[in-house]
């Protein structure tokens, strides 16, 4: 067997083996070793995959897939039974109905003996798969390592819940395995199978704590993703009655747009549900009830990234069609509105959730536009977002265990109270919105891509206004962290080593990827674009150089504290002449002692969740209806 296919099978199967081991593990130390070694192995193999395969182009692996197909069918039925079991237990009739519809569709395409069902090469690898594998492999592994520390604290804080750490890791590793399967599958039936596995895993992980709220939110995530699953299955049914081979990604993308408009719209819809775009964004916000590493995993390297992955894959079909533009509108408006809602949120995890929804919206918009430049921006967004967002979640998780709160207002002066964690968090926030960090580079690339695309100006305008909103909510959070409270106590203590490894690595990655993104671009993204579009996009050399200069300045400027300077006095802040104590208590007009408290603006009359979300849901539903209309009436091609 070829080395690459061995690596690929290793990545899909090895996490499953680790999951099996988890069944048997009893002691903490054993679990620690197994998880750490597995994480290391997965991370190392993805890097090996990069080193050996980056210059090989696209490779397809053909073999007799019949036994595997059968196994997948059986497993799919197992998934159905599990979901039905939960749905019946909790009397969720919507989920029961959706599951039954989906199962019917699965039976339909499995029993249809048309020639197209057999895909010659079910597995493949190209540069985009490698990028996704690196994201899943490296970030996923770091989150696993982090979870070791986190789950121990978690059970110290939640004593009422029975310890199910093993189950937790089983779900996580199955999830990672499914993600690898998804990005390496050429056969749509295989993609669909792994797609369903991620739906199940996310359902189980969101409902992990088994509280009432967790169960409710898990079911929300489930029915929304089942809806996407049904669309996906319907696309497969449609394609089974097309000429042979049409169930392979390789064939669909070169078959000409007319044949695949309807399945493209269906899969586009499935992508929207999984990527938590409006009107389906509420499941991702609800998913916050899960332990923080789960949030980190769902938001950065898995689940939602599966949604945008499939959209980016289908981008050549979307390009220049009404379907593509309507998708782009859904993404763009989701970006704008979710960014607005984030301003009104004071819960750190909810801010992160809305920011994820917003950024995925941008990726969806790029995929919908579908030009080479837009896809370049989309892939950069996927990479940078995965790194910064996982870092942010893990930081919030660590902070939460220390200060017992995930409210941003409670993070006042964190740089004094938890200096090292706050510094890392500051890097994460800077990575999300400031030049010269990754997300801003990507937004810049997106502006450039939109403006050169036909009718792209609308998206430029939406992006520009949306970016201004993101600036506000990130900067005010960053400001809160950096407040210096002179008499605050440092309560950081010892951070768990496992958590620390993950945090430092991700912070390092946030900065390093900004330095090396031109290399990532020329090694992986540009060859991918050249193969799929025949053209490439890139920022000019000069501009990259200027970005690097800014980055160097940013790294060097903190050293300015060390520069020699004249002696200065430290004075208390100005309180308008009112006598105040150093801990900022002052005498109010009635003579009573009052504590001075500062709080951020949340501007809820403008950016309140209920109002804006309703606008977004209506607007995006309208565009989705338009998309299906265009697909059905064949007017999809502009």
């Amino acid at each position: 067997m070829d080395i690459s296919v061995q690596l690929l099978l290793f990545l899909i199967l090895f996490p499953l083996i680790t999951a099996l081991f988890m069944l048997a593990v009893r002691r903490d130390t054993d679990r620690n070793w197994i998880v750490k070694l597995s994480a290391l192995a997965i991370g190392a193999v993805t890097v090996l995959l990069l080193v050996t395969q980056f210059d090989k182009g696209t490779l397809y692996y053909g073999f007799n897939a019949e036994p595997v197909n059968l196994l997948m069918f059986v497993l799919e039925m197992v998934i159905t039974v599990i979901i039905l079991g939960f749905a019946i237990k909790f009397r969720n009739y919507l989920v029961i109905a959706l599951t039954l519809i989906e199962t019917a569709l699965i039976f339909w395409f499995e029993s249809a003996a048309t020639p197209s069902v057999a895909v010659k090469s079910p597995l493949f690898i190209d540069q985009f798969s490698i990028i996704m594998a690196l994201i899943v492999g490296i970030i996923g592994s770091l989150i696993c390592v982090y979870s070791l520390g986190y789950m121990r604290h978690f059970y110290q804080h939640h004593t009422g819940i029975p310890d199910r750490t093993n189950t937790f890791f089983i779900f996580i590793f199955v999830f990672i395995s499914a993600m690898f399967g998804l990005v390496f599958s050429n056969s749509l039936i295989w993609v669909f199978f792994f797609w369903e596995v991620t739906t199940l895993c996310s359902f189980l992980l969101i409902g992990f704590t088994k509280t009432e709220e967790a169960t409710k939110n898990a079911f929300t995530a489930l029915w929304m993703n089942l809806l996407g699953g049904i669309a996906f299955a319907a696309a497969i049914v449609y394609l089974t009655y097309q000429p042979a081979g049409m169930l392979g990604l390789d064939q669909i993308l070169v078959s000409g747009k007319v044949l695949v408009l309807i399945p493209a719209a269906l899969i586009g819809f499935a992508g929207l549900t999984k990527a938590a775009q409006m009107p389906f964004s509420s499941w991702l916000v609800g998913a916050m009830v899960a332990p923080t590493p789960v949030s980190a995993l769902l938001h950065s390297s898995t689940m939602v990234k599966a949604g945008v992955y499939i959209l980016v894959r289908f981008a050549p079909v979307f390009q220049g069609t009404v379907i593509g533009y309507t998708l782009a509108f859904v993404g763009a408006f989701t970006f704008l509105i979710a960014s607005g809602i984030a301003i009104s949120q004071s819960n750190a995890k909810r801010v992160l959730a809305y920011s994820t929804i917003a950024n995925l919206g941008l990726v969806v918009a790029c995929a919908g536009i579908g030009t080479a430049e837009a896809i370049w921006a989309a892939i950069l967004l996927i990479i940078f977002h995965a790194i910064s967002k996982s870092l942010m979640f893990l930081c919030v998780g660590t902070v939460e265990h220390r200060i017992k709160s995930r409210e941003i207002e409670d993070m006042n002066g964190l740089i004094v109270r938890l200096p090292r964690i706050a510094a890392i968090m500051a890097i994460g926030i800077a990575g999300m919105f400031l030049a010269p960090f990754g997300m801003l580079i990507s937004k810049w690339a997106a502006i450039q891509a939109f403006i050169n695309a036909p009718f792209g100006l609308v998206f430029v305008v939406i992006l520009i206004f949306g970016s201004a909103l993101t600036l506000f909510f990130w900067a005010k959070w960053l400001g809160k962290l950096l407040v210096i409270i002179p008499d605050a106590e440092n309560v950081e203590g010892l951070v768990d080593t496992n958590e620390w490894i993950a945090l430092v690595s991700l912070a390092g990655l946030t900065v390093i990827t900004c330095f090396i993104f031109p290399v990532i671009s020329s090694m992986l993204i540009e060859p991918f674009l050249l193969a799929n579009y025949g053209s490439v996009a890139l920022l000019s050399q000069d501009n990259v150089l200027i970005m690097v200069m800014m980055l160097f300045l940013l790294v060097l400027l903190p050293l300015s504290i060390l520069l020699p300077h004249r002696k200065h006095r430290t004075l208390p802040p100005y309180m308008g002449g009112v006598p105040a104590t150093p801990d900022m208590h002052f005498q109010n007009a009635l003579g009573a002692k009052t504590e001075m408290k500062l709080s951020n603006y949340y501007v809820s009359p403008w950016f309140g969740e209920a109002k804006l979300a309703m606008t977004g849901i209506c607007l995006c539903t309208f565009f989705i209806v338009l998309m299906f209309g265009a697909a059905v009436f064949g007017g999809g091609i502009l």
Partner: protein, 285 residues
């Protein structure tokens, strides 16, 4: 593309010209108010005095934020005058502003805190228009590079009148003039004292003052770009626009931040995006 010479000229001359502009500003304002006003070199004396003063800080980290604001404000301007990418100029300027805001946040002081919040709202208010100005110039000239835009043969203001008006509108925010001197004002008599700058004093305040001069010159350079096809018109435009800002400053009371934000976005959307849309679709026919 990049002309180092112009960048160096900017770095050396911008504080001199910026200071003089501030001096003339005060003189003209005084005349508008029926006063004689100080010498036009007064801003230099003021800043000189600030640097001689004893350093007094609220905390040790303030210096870092001030220096970073100063460095990136110069960086943004130098990039502009070197003929660099306009979007990148705006991003660098935003980075500089964020440092100023963070510096104000760290002080843990009520006045500078509210100033910081309002400053962020101001950035949120003007940034779309600033980026739209860059986008408009791209649609007109097919380049984001200041060097190409400056070399464009047609007067850009004829193609982008709406964008120009929108830019002048937000220029009031950038110059910290009434009615939009919301986060801080040139006069320390507003309801939040000196807002975002309340807790900076001595040399730190001096650096902020000089950085503001750099920013003013950058903004005037932006105005010039709209008239770059003709040098003389460009300079006349700068003078008229600045005098107009002074007239607005002296005839308007400060508005609430809500109005500043709403009106800036409306102007950006209607004048800015509307103008670009017309140009964009005309260009594609």
């Amino acid at each position: 593309m990049i002309s180092l010479l112009w960048a160096v000229v900017y770095i050396l001359l911008a504080p001199v010209i910026g200071g003089l502009v501030a001096g003339i500003d005060r003189k003209v304002t005084a005349h508008m108010q029926g006063r004689v006003g100080p010498s036009i070199f007064q801003p230099f004396y003021d800043v000189g005095k600030l640097f001689e003063k004893e350093g007094a800080v609220v905390n040790e980290t303030q210096r870092f934020y001030v220096i970073s604001y100063f460095v990136f404000a110069i960086f943004a301007g130098a990039l502009f005058f070197a003929g660099g990418n306009l979007l990148l100029v705006v991003f660098a300027l935003t980075l500089a502003e964020v440092f100023l805001v963070l510096g104000a946040y760290t002080a843990n002081s009520p006045y500078s805190h509210i100033g910081a919040e309002r400053e962020l709202i101001q950035i949120m208010a003007y940034e779309p228009m600033l980026l739209l100005a860059a986008v408009g110039m791209y649609v007109a000239t097919n380049s984001f590079n200041v060097s190409d835009i400056a070399g464009f043969p047609t007067l850009l203001v004829l193609l982008l009148p709406g964008v120009f008006l929108g830019f002048v509108y937000i220029l009031t925010i950038k110059l910290r003039k009434s009615p939009f001197d919301i986060s801080t004002s040139h006069h320390a008599h507003q309801e939040i004292v000196k807002g975002v700058m309340t807790e900076f004093s001595g040399p730190n305040l001096g650096f902020i003052e000089v950085a503001h001069w750099y920013e003013v010159i950058l903004m005037l350079g932006f105005v010039f770009l709209f008239f770059a096809a003709s040098w003389i018109l460009g300079i006349i435009a700068i003078i008229i626009v600045y005098l107009l800002e002074l007239a607005i400053d002296n005839t308007n009371a400060r508005v609430k931040w809500q109005l500043a934000m709403k009106s800036s976005w409306a102007v950006a959307l209607i004048l800015g995006a509307g103008n670009i849309a017309i140009l964009y679709f005309l260009g594609r026919i």
